[in-house]
């Protein structure tokens, strides 16, 4: 009954999306204003109904209603409740429903609260949102129904053991908030193109949505990277896997987008760029979804293999992206050029940011799709870290240099002489770091450059605070400094990890002590352990840093029985200056145990940096929104005062 209820709500939501679209289209014509009044309520109602459908799905998963096909295939009555619920989106159908739910919720939210733009632009925007959402509703209802019933109820299959992890349970919803939040930017871009209203006001309205989506993407990518680091058991934190790239591409586009939208908001420049990036960012989200959900890739993350679905998403993708790009091509010429600026200015630096980020995006897209293209022609090639790392560095490293000085420049135009002192200081830091590293540590070229730039950016991140009153500094400026500093921290972590990690792989007998970098690790015992849906062999290790106090670590080798699979559960010991990473493998015939130990100096900086970047975004968002709210309250007061005066 619950499942049918959910399905009915979903059909109704789809119908309301259609209504919203029709009302928005007809409302654009002369005399259609009354019809356009329907658009906002339809968007809100659609969001509520879709949310209801999603709640029903959570319900059947929480109750392990095995008569629902999806539950039977992906859940198991013995799993802990949190994994039962996470099972709702740990599969193809459920995750697509989550996707469309977030999309509907975002659309409903702007319909509810956004009143700054001309009503015509707003209804065109909501129409675009309805168009995209409607496409995904049809996909779910016709090709990917999560509420299908099963004739006879069997024992459930269970969530993939690799995904049975609390961190990962909330990974997909976070990433989806990011992906789908960008649909708002897409719809705003389309709405602005349709009604030819590419204004600073439009940029200010769009900005918090982009920032919000970008924060979710940043957190999602960072958390996902940490997850693969500790869960896969080999200490790698980024694999340039197509699924990771699928989340990186929208992030790159969104990063470029919110830098460019800031230029449009403050300076009324970069109009076409901003619109273009708005279209591209969500297109990347859709391409990512297509890559992951169509089963076209075979990678750790791909759970769905069904070509009909792939074709359906591909067609949706072609219609949405193709349509938006065609509209852009037709209308871009009619958008008047924005304000001008000189090469040496804040805008100029941000243009370089935009161009380099777009180029990196192009490279990641190429490297991700190219193997698929050659495979279609019968040749299989692989594109991995040895390609992505150096090729993207060609663009990223110069961008970081610009990042160091860009925020010091004034809008419109500036003189080099004015920023001479800080620029020289930054350059001196860079040279000193380069020289010191080169003399002390014999490390590879990319790591050397990475560490040098990390030092440069770390210092430069806070230079914009120079000579300003810290108390009166707007929150978004703090946000910028924190986020840029986060980039330096992450880059530092990545470079140090890749240059100074110590690895020891060995077969150890109980009682034996092994060296790994500054650590001495002793294997004390190997014991069997049982969990709720697994059994395991657990190693007990004692580790001491430079002969100091002993810490206990218990890495495990777990065997799940539904579905049957063995996973390595690493055990980590975190110090301020790095992590000791331990894994236990199989026993050898002579009674010893495979141990894999790593000392990874400053590796945690990678994710600390990621969260600092997200925090910076959050500060900027809070700053922007609070200004918006204050402005709104002020206008309301003024209006009330005026009404009073008129009454008197």
């Amino acid at each position: 009954m619950i499942a049918e209820f959910g399905l009915a709500a979903l059909w109704l939501a789809a119908a309301l999306a259609a209504l919203q679209l029709i009302a928005a289209v007809l409302g654009q014509r002369k005399g259609g204003e009354t019809l356009a009044l329907l658009v906002r309520p339809a968007a809100v109602a659609q969001a509520l109904l879709c949310g209801l459908a999603f709640l029903m799905l959570l319900w059947v998963f929480a109750r392990t209603d095995l008569s629902v096909l999806l539950v039977a295939e992906n859940s198991n009555a013995q799993s802990p409740l949190i994994f039962k619920i996470a099972g709702a989106w740990g599969n193809h159908e459920g995750s697509m429903l989550l996707w469309v739910t977030i999309m509907a919720a975002a659309g409903g939210l702007i319909a509810l609260i956004e009143r700054r733009l001309p009503e015509r632009t707003m209804s065109a925007t909501l129409g675009a949102q309805a168009f995209v959402t409607f496409g995904f509703y049809t996909f779910i209802l016709f090709a990917s129904n999560p509420f299908n019933r099963l004739a006879s109820a069997p024992q459930g299959g269970g969530l993939n053991p690799l995904l049975q992890d609390p961190g990962l349970a909330f990974h997909p919803p976070t990433l989806y908030c990011g992906y789908v939040g960008l649909s708002i930017a897409f719809s705003f871009a389309v709405g602005a193109l349709l009604t030819r209203q590419v204004t600073p006001e439009f940029a200010r309205v769009m900005r918090p949505w982009i920032l919000g989506a970008w924060i979710f993407l940043t957190i999602g990518i960072t958390a996902g990277s940490y997850w693969s680091y500790y869960e896969l058991g080999w200490g790698g934190w980024w694999f340039w896997d197509p699924v990771e790239n699928a989340s990186l591409m929208p992030w790159l586009a969104a990063t470029a987008l919110f830098h460019s939208v800031s230029v449009l908001a403050s300076r009324d420049a970069l109009r076409t760029w901003t619109i273009m990036l708005g279209v591209v960012a969500f297109s990347m989200s859709m391409i990512g979804t297509f890559l992951v959900r169509s089963g076209i890739l075979t990678s750790v993350h791909a759970f769905a293999v069904d070509p009909t679905r792939g074709m359906f998403i591909l067609v949706l993708l072609a219609i949405n992206i193709g349509g938006a790009l065609a509209l852009f091509a037709v209308r871009a010429g009619t958008i008047a050029e924005g304000e001008r600026f000189s090469a040496l200015s804040r805008e100029g630096a941000l243009v370089i940011n935009n161009v380099t980020l777009s180029a990196v995006l192009g490279i990641v897209l190429l490297g991700t799709l190219y193997p698929l293209v050659t495979e279609a022609f019968g040749v299989r090639v692989s594109v991995g870290p040895p390609y992505f790392n150096p090729v993207s560095a060609i663009f990223v490293f110069p961008m970081l240099v610009v990042l160091a000085v860009g925020p010091l420049l004034r809008w419109r135009g500036d003189r080099l002489a004015r920023i001479k002192t800080p620029a020289i200081a930054v350059a001196a830091v860079g040279l000193a770091a380069l020289l010191a590293l080169w003399l002390i540590a014999g490390i590879a070229f990319l790591e050397l450059l990475g560490l040098t730039l990390a030092a440069v950016v770390a210092v430069a991140a806070f230079l914009p605070l120079r000579g300003r009153s810290l108390k009166r500094l707007p929150l978004p400026v703090w946000g910028m400094c924190v986020a840029h500093f986060g980039i330096a921290v992450a880059l530092f972590g990545m470079s140090v990890d890749s240059a100074f990690t110590v690895e020891t792989l060995t077969a150890a007998s109980v009682g034996q002590t092994i060296d790994v970098g500054p650590w001495k690790v002793r294997l004390d015992a190997v014991e069997p352990v049982a969990g709720p849906n697994w059994t395991a062999l657990s190693g007990r290790l004692s580790a001491s840093y430079h002969g100091g106090a002993e810490h206990e670590l218990t890495p495990m080798s777990r065997t799940f029985w539904a579905p049957p699979q063995t996973t390595s559960e690493s055990a980590l010991l975190t110090r301020w200056n790095g992590q000791l990473y331990t894994v236990i493998g199989e026993g050898t015939p002579d009674g010893r145990w495979q141990l894999r130990l790593w000392w990874k100096p400053f590796v945690t900086c990678i994710w600390l940096g990621g969260f600092l970047i997200a925090l910076g975004g959050f500060l900027a968002l809070v700053g922007r929104v609070s200004v918006d709210v204050r402005r709104r309250v002020a206008t309301r007061k003024i209006a009330a005062r005026r009404a009073e005066m008129a009454a008197v």
Binding site: G235, S299, A359, S382
Partner: protein, 133 residues
């Protein structure tokens, strides 16, 4: 007769290796010489584990990855250069095994496009920035 036994072993080996055979000697054991080990690791990190999904042989528990790690460590210890071993593996398993694409008739766009992107980036930046205030 001898070649027949060898053939049977060669065909049967993968099936046996799954469960009963111990992992190859250097699958989970490093070379004593740190420089050689670093060479081997550099190579292993850039080779695809053919039985896994999107992992390199340096980060995989699969038995085939273990066998390959062992093979690579032994060859490095015997003095072969990493690129030579890579070529040998590509010859055996095809280009798919190497995460480091080579410039060939099928892969040249991977190298030409970044250059074009670089030119395009410079061009766009120059065009945008030349319009003085």
């Amino acid at each position: 007769m001898r070649w027949f036994v060898a053939l049977v072993l060669a065909v049967a080996a993968p099936a046996i290796a799954q469960d009963t055979m111990p992992p190859a000697p250097y699958a989970y054991q490093q070379l004593a010489n740190p420089q050689l080990e670093a060479k081997a690791e550099g190579l292993m990190g850039t080779l695809r584990c053919l039985t896994c999904q999107g992992q390199s042989i340096a980060d995989s528990d699969a038995s085939m990855a273990g066998d390959m790690r062992s093979e690579i460590r032994q060859r490095i210890a015997a003095g072969e250069s990493p690129e030579h071993i890579r070529q040998w593996l590509i010859g055996r398993y095809g280009e798919y095994i190497s995460y480091k694409p080579q410039v060939t008739r099928t892969t040249w766009p991977l190298f030409v496009v970044p250059v074009l992107l670089l030119l395009l980036a410079v061009l766009i930046a120059a065009r945008r920035l030349r319009r003085r205030a």
